[in-house]
């Protein structure tokens, strides 16, 4: 045979890190790089599981010192009350500072117009980019993961945005080794994605391993929902149900947390972390495919929104 193979047989090397330890170590390295190189970083924090994991990683990265970043939430005005309660409680517990950019205030002031379909997710871009300019944030941490969506799969860990927060996929800097280049001109900023390489399952396994508390809506519970375009949306003041849409009580849970108008619940009886992990491991649907209406708008919906400044 011409094959030259020197595969070690069977012996488990005690110095091989588990995949969760590898991902955690990489994410912590990214948080510390930003702390070392930027003046005014901020963590996007929505109270969703990805941003909760990010905050947990940041707490570990700088312990026993406090997290050297502030938080920013873009509130669509259609957020789940349980999630907002969780957000405020978490911020208070860790003594952090939270900025809120409100889509509702922009609409009330006539600076944004409600879309005919009632979806507010795309409307977040303007308050987000204006908050970044106003506070002169130079590094903005996001919980985006490359497994979520095919345009996200193409984004760097350090993603340079111009003074309009725009992403240009053709002009990305190559990202080599663990040498992240965060140089930017005044007015520009860098979006940073420490959990780029995590999958949905990794996030859940890490939450289980670390014993991280989550908002209740991630676990199966009885809820009043109605069906719109094949998705179970929560009934509420935000604008549902419309005529002809029937409210019913179902046992559901959420895989993602976002704007109530475009985030669907899934039928589930998973009431514990173990049950959620088993359910995710067996699911034949991706997180966003199952629960996000806004990504179904077109084949390049995410790429187009990111080009405009979305995270």
């Amino acid at each position: 045979m011409t094959t030259v193979a020197t595969v070690s047989e069977g012996t488990d090397n005690p110095y091989a890190l588990s995949h969760l330890d590898s991902l955690e170590s990489e994410a912590v390295h990214i948080f510390r790089e930003v702390a070392g190189e930027f003046e005014r970083p901020v963590i996007l924090f929505s109270g969703g599981k990805d941003s909760i994991v990010m905050l947990h990683l940041a707490l570990k990265a700088f312990a026993p010192a406090p997290v050297p970043f502030t938080l920013l939430h873009v509130d669509t005005g259609h957020n789940f009350p349980e999630v907002l309660e969780y957000r405020d409680r978490t911020v208070a517990r860790h003594g952090l500072r939270l900025h809120v950019a409100s889509v509702q205030e922009y609409i009330d002031a006539g600076k944004l117009r409600e879309r005919p379909d009632g979806t507010r997710n795309p409307l977040q871009t303007v308050p987000l980019t204006e908050a970044i300019q106003q506070h002169r944030f130079d590094a903005v941490f996001g919980g985006g993961r490359r497994d979520e969506e095919k345009a996200r799969a193409k984004e760097r860990v350090f993603s340079l945005r111009d003074e309009f927060s725009q992403w240009d996929p053709r002009r990305q800097r190559p990202e080599l080794w663990q040498l992240y280049n965060g140089r930017h001109a005044p007015g520009e900023h860098v979006r940073v994605f420490p959990i780029s390489n995590w999958t949905e399952l990794d996030v859940w396994q890490y939450i289980a391993r670390e014993g991280i508390e989550l908002p209740e809506i991630y676990f199966a519970h009885e809820r009043e929902v109605f069906n719109r375009s094949g998705m179970w949306l929560t009934a509420g003041d935000w604008g549902g149900p419309k005529e002809g849409e029937q409210v019913e009580t179902r046992q559901v849970r959420y895989r993602t947390v976002g704007d109530m108008s475009c985030t669907g619940a899934v039928d589930s009886d998973a009431t514990t972390l173990d049950a959620v992990i088993t359910e995710i491991a067996a699911s034949r649907l991706t997180e966003r495919g199952a629960t996000r209406a806004d990504d179904k708008m077109s084949e390049a919906a995410m790429e187009d929104r990111k080009r405009e400044g979305y995270f």
Partner: protein, 449 residues
């Protein structure tokens, strides 16, 4: 422990392998990637439906699996992969991060990007064509980047009647070539990505092959290195000083161990200052440990309150790297704007960024035949060449051959922040045997690549 908890435990204690694929579209790379994802059940229903829908609207009858990874408008419009796409899949034994890199020569920089963090590279060859220029280019990039494991996947075996001699000849030629470049480990596997032979399932058509399938090899290849053979290196990222009532005197040096291991009680030197101290504690993200190793992110505390800041390097007192301001390296130029002799740049090495000047560009490498072009004066996009750089401050730099982490650097344009080149300090290839093709192409007897 419940059955479910056991299941969870097993899933979270598997290891992680980062690997890259290389090969042009015609070699069947997309099919191989699609087959790996599909047969490991990593393509989910809604993704497949989206691909089927998009394929139909383009008038294609079969789903085009390349649409799974070609995530940008421009890629789908042109039907080519422009940029690295990262894909994630898992088996019960291991989790995988796949850097799917474009094969065209004009995207060499993207293969370099994918290979820089890869522990393994899969080089695809069409069994009908054998080792071609592109194959040699991929092998050379893998060797330059010192990817520890290389798999030669001889694809389309179904089109050569699954004939052993065809495979053996290609494997022999490639192995000889790659070994001459210093690729430490080469595994050749005959496959048909289209028919599924030896990708995930062993082939019934090739009884003569006794080795692993591609997936089996990916699952078993070692991901950690012999720590005793590595020089321990710890670049300081950030100094943690809470200055709180609870921790009034805590002073820790946070960073990710770049190579080797550190132990409590060990005598260390801090570079570039050369001051010495002893490790008194290692905090591994909330847990106090006696030993920590690469690539763990930890916080190290020392016995002496000496001046240490971001950019310094902590190394064992008896095994510290030399400090230098003159860097000789092989670089891959990754920017559209050229790199020229005399240019002022920034050099980013580990956690340290310093001013530097390009003193010389002694040669440029022709990847096709590995011949060298002397004194090109400049490097343009996708060029690989030797450079000599003088830095404003001393660097604790290892040879890339000894440490990918502390032997690598970036050159950055100080005007606009563009990443110009990827640098690898020291000699280029582990073996300095002179391939015949290169000897024929140059009269220069000195082999500096």
């Amino acid at each position: 422990m419940t059955a479910l908890t056991q299941h969870t435990e097993q899933l979270s204690t598997t290891t992680l392998l980062r690997f890259a694929t290389a090969g042009s579209v015609d070699d069947g790379k997309s099919t191989l990637v699609g087959r790996l994802l599909h047969d490991s059940k990593s393509v989910l229903t809604d993704q497949l439906e989206a691909v089927e829908h998009a394929s139909r609207s383009r008038g294609q009858e079969a789903p085009d699996l390349a649409l799974l990874t070609d995530g940008l408008r421009a890629e789908r419009e042109q039907g080519i992969t422009i940029d690295v796409a990262y894909r994630y899949f898992a088996t019960p034994r291991r989790r995988f991060i796949l850097a799917d890199t474009p094969g065209h020569v004009q995207y060499t920089r993207n293969m370099v990007t994918g290979a820089s963090t890869a522990e393994l590279a899969v080089v695809l060859v069409d069994a009908r064509n054998g080792v071609v220029e592109q194959t040699r280019r991929h092998a050379a990039v893998a060797a330059l980047l010192r990817v520890p494991h290389v798999v030669l996947a001889v694809n389309k075996m179904d089109l050569v009647d699954y004939a052993e001699p065809v495979f053996a000849a290609i494997a022999e030629e490639f192995t000889a070539y790659a070994a001459s470049l210093g690729v430490p480990e080469i595994t050749a596997i005959p496959i048909s990505a289209l028919a599924g032979d030896n990708v995930v399932e062993p082939s019934s058509h090739m009884d003569w092959y006794g080795g692993p399938t591609v997936l089996e090899h990916l699952e078993t290849v070692p991901v950690s290195h012999d720590l005793t053979a590595c020089h321990a290196r710890f670049p300081v990222q950030y100094v943690i000083r809470p200055q709180t009532a609870e921790h009034p005197d805590y002073r820790g040096y946070a960073g990710q161990i770049a190579a080797g291991a550190f132990r409590v009680g060990e005598a260390v030197t801090v570079l570039p200052s050369g001051r010495t101290s002893t490790v008194t504690a290692i905090d591994a993200l909330g847990e106090s440990v006696d030993i920590a190793w690469a690539p763990q992110s930890v916080t190290i505390r020392l016995a002496d309150d000496i001046d240490i800041s971001r950019g310094d390097l902590i190394a064992p007192a008896d095994d510290a790297p030399a400090v230098t301001r003159d860097v000789e390296a092989t670089v891959c130029h990754v920017a559209d704007q050229p790199l020229t002799v005399g240019q002022r740049v920034l050099l980013k090495h580990t956690t340290r960024t310093v001013k530097a000047i390009v003193k010389d560009i002694p040669s440029r490498l022709t990847l096709d035949d590995l011949s060298q072009h002397p004194a090109p004066g400049r490097l343009v996009a996708n060029d690989i060449g030797r450079v000599v750089v003088r830095t404003a401050e001393p660097l604790a730099l290892d040879a890339y051959a000894d440490s990918r982490r502390t032997g690598s650097f970036l050159l950055i344009d100080p005007a606009d922040g563009t990443t110009l080149t990827a640098g690898m300090a020291g000699a280029s290839f582990a073996a300095v045997a002179e391939p015949e093709a290169a000897a024929a192409a140059t009269d220069d007897a000195e082999w500096s690549f």
